[in-house]
Structures are given as C-alpha cells and as structure tokens.
Amino acid sequence: MLEVSDLHLKIGDALILNGVSFSAQAGDSIGIIGPNGSGKTTLFNCLSGFVLPFQGSVSLRGENITHTPPYLRAELGVGRVFQSFGIFREMTVLENLVVALESRAGVLRTFFPWSTTSRMIRAQAKEFAAQVKLDGKLSQRAGMLSGGQMRLLEIVRALAFGAEVFLLDEPTAGVSPKMKDEVAALISHVQTLGKTTLIIEHDINFVQSFSKRVLVLDQGRVILDDSPENVRKNDLLREIYFGK
C-alpha cells in the first residue's frame, strides 16, 4: 500500500530525515513515536507532499508519488489530520463536512447547489456528523467546538473525503481525557473499515491500544520497527528518551 524508501530531507542546513524507510500494507495500523525533533511530523509532511525529500521515494499502491503535489496525493487517498487542528473554524460543522464531500464529488457535479448531488452531499454530511455526535451542532461555527469535538470533526471529515491512508499527527493533543476515549473509538472505527492508519503519539499506551507495529524515530532515522510489546522492552527506547 505505502512504501517509503530511504527518505532524506533537509530544512536549511539541518538534516531532518536521514534515510527513513518502512512499508505499510492496506489495513495496517502503525504507531510512530520518538522524542521532540526526531522528524515525526516532518515525515508526515513528506508523505502528504507539503515538503519534498532530496533523496528517497514514496510510493502508494505501487505508484511513485514522491513529487506528486499534496492535493493529488489526497485524491489518491492520503488523508491528513493535523497536530494543530486542520478544521475550518469560521465554517459551520456542516460546511466542514460538505467541503470534503464536494471535493470528492468534483466541481462539475456540485456546481449547482440545487443539484441532486449537492442535496445528497448535505444528507451524507449530516450522517457523518451523527457518527461523531455532532448532528446537534451542524450550524455551529467549528471554531466554537471543544478540542475533542474539533478532532472528531477533522477525523470524520477525512473519512468523508474518502481517505485510505490516515496520517494522524497527535490526534489526542489538546483533547480532554473524556473526549480522548471518543477519539480513540473513532480511530478504532476507521481501522475496522480497513483503512491504513499511521499515528504519531507521545503516549505509548495509546499507541499500543491501536497499533500492531511501532516505529521509533530518532534524529531522522527509524531506530526500531517492532511490535509495541517488544518496543516497550527495548532499552534503546529508554536511551533515546532518558539518555544512557
């Protein structure tokens, strides 16, 4: 499904990714952990196409997408959930979902708001909102939602858009402990739909509950790629977080 090979990326003079390689099969759930500055978010930016590597490649379903622009990667199924909430705060909850569904349907089919497609999209958007219990807040500005609700909206929007590979960058950041369970339940739901999920998280317990495999990044390299249980036991993990 997703093949990442020998990614090297520089920002200024700093080498942020230093030969990252891994692969993910359809339906895989992979946790990505590592200390601050280890290159986790940059790796996601590289997979999303927001930054380009100077060496290495990214392939999706066998197609080389290393230099494909972000919007085309999204069309191919790469979905992104941002660490700092990528929702449109000035739009309503309904509009946030409609904009994703319209994007999937294409410009011509949604050109006229009274078209059958446009009416169907609004109905679908309401169903997706109901999935995350936001159907009572459809006309509320998304910026007025709590952190947890914003996160739910962002994930369900990626689902509505039809993403196949979910890049979830710290999905529980800025989320209250109570809402964390709801976010976790939604990620589980995404996984049961057979989607590939890559989750950046600092909370290894959270990662363990979702991922069958964990990548540990340090200084732009994958230093561990193993099951969560084995990663937990590995002394290298303690070393990179707490030193020798």
Partner: protein, 289 residues
Amino acid sequence: MEYIIHLAILVGIYLILAQSFNLTIGLGRMFNLAHVASYALGAYVTALASTELEMGFGRCLISSALVSGLFAILLGGIALRLAGDYFAIGTLAFASIVSALLINWKSVTKGVLGIPGIPRPEIGGVALYDNLQFGYVVGVLVIVSLTVLYFVFSSPFGRVLRGQAEDQLAMMALGRDVRLINTLGFFIASAFAGVAGALFAYYINYIDPSSFSFSEMVFLVTIVVVGSPGSFWGCVVATFFLVLLPEPLRFVDLPSSILGPMRQLLHSIVLLSVVWFNRAKLFPAQREV
C-alpha cells in the same frame, strides 16, 4: 434629478468593483493591491476599442472583462507563488507596472493627457446619451454582476476560497489545488473589475491615469473592511455608505481645496475606526505545518 442619477450610476459601478474585490480580499483573504489596475485596464480597453476600433458596447464589455481577467492570470501566476506580505507587495508591483504603462506608453494610452471623447454606447441603434437611459443599462449590469458574484460566493468554489483563506494546508489535504482555485478567483474578480472599468469609461467619456491612482485602491479596501471582509451584503451596504458619505460636503460652503482632502479624510477616519475595533478579526494569522 440629474444629480441623483449620477450618484446611482457611481454607486452601481462601485458595487461591481468593490464586490469583485471582496471576492479576493474578503473571501479569499488575498491582499491583492492590483485590483484597481484591473479596473484601469478594463476602462482603457473600452476607451481604445470604442474610439479607435469603433467596437460596439457588448464587444467592448467582453474585451474589457477578458483583458482584465487575463491580466489576473498573469498576476496570479507570479504573485500567488509569494506568501503573506510578499504577495501584497508583488501585486503592488504589478499595479505600479500598469500605472507606469498608462502614463508612459503615450502612443497607445496618450499618457497623462488621457483618452477623451469616449462615445456613449449604442444599444439597438439608440445611443445612450441620456444619463437615465445609461443608468438603466448600468442597473441591469449591476444586477447581473451581483447575482453572478453572489452565486460564486455561496457556491462550492466560494467555500473552497473561504476555506483556503483559513488553512491552505487543510484544503490541499482535501484534494483541492489551492493555487488553481486562487487564480480562478483572481480571474473572476478581475474580469468584473474590467466590466466596472468599461462602464466608468463610457459614463465619464474621458479617462486618464489619475482616475486609477493608489487612493482609489485605498477606497476599495475601506469599502471591504467597513462591510466586513467576505460579507456579501456588508460590502453592498458599505459601498452605498462610503460612496454617498462625502456627498453632503458638496453643499457646505467651503473652498474646493479643502473639500477634496476632506472626502479622503472622512474615508480614512472610517477605515481607521473599523480597523481599530476589528483588528483581531480582520487578518488572523495562518497556521503553519
């Protein structure tokens, strides 16, 4: 009566000009300082096409819209590669180039002397010399233009333009080519500015570079800011308000050397007040990856 018709035509032209500007600066949050350049191009194309080529009303209008629209594509192709403040500076550079061309390309634009004798348009063999008749035509074009722009504002395209203004990365992550969308937004806005320019040229019968100075740009910014950027009806109300605001000064017994600057002073006070009270809302910071 003639005075009221004059004001109505002026408000009509500014409604098209300001609302099209609102599409880019208000909805798309693209600080395009070359909108008046598009307006000027529209005016000059109609002036030249009607005086030199004796082209009809419809053809002049379409030519103005197309030339201004194409200018926007060129502008967008270059300026949209620049981020934030640099984008505004880039568009300002384009505006300066157009201004320099209007002044210095004398063989075509007649420089600072301008182009006189622009004939009123003929529709169905009737020349619209009467301001009331011309006012009806402007009225119809204002209704058509505002209807189209309203449709654009509330369409999926408008939603994408609004969304990318808030978060370009999130919009790209939803499969939208943000640069293409912005260029298209530029094209539409600029084409309508061209239409406004054509109407202005027809109405005033004479154009010169001073009609398209930077103070005109500031006036457009004032309209959009007062009407709340991105608000369609806010822009309509603000256009009426700001075009008509200095008019009572005409009836004050003051020398013209004082009256002229007072109009600009009034607009500046309104702009400053609105910006002061809405400073946090007007241009919020973009999120970084």
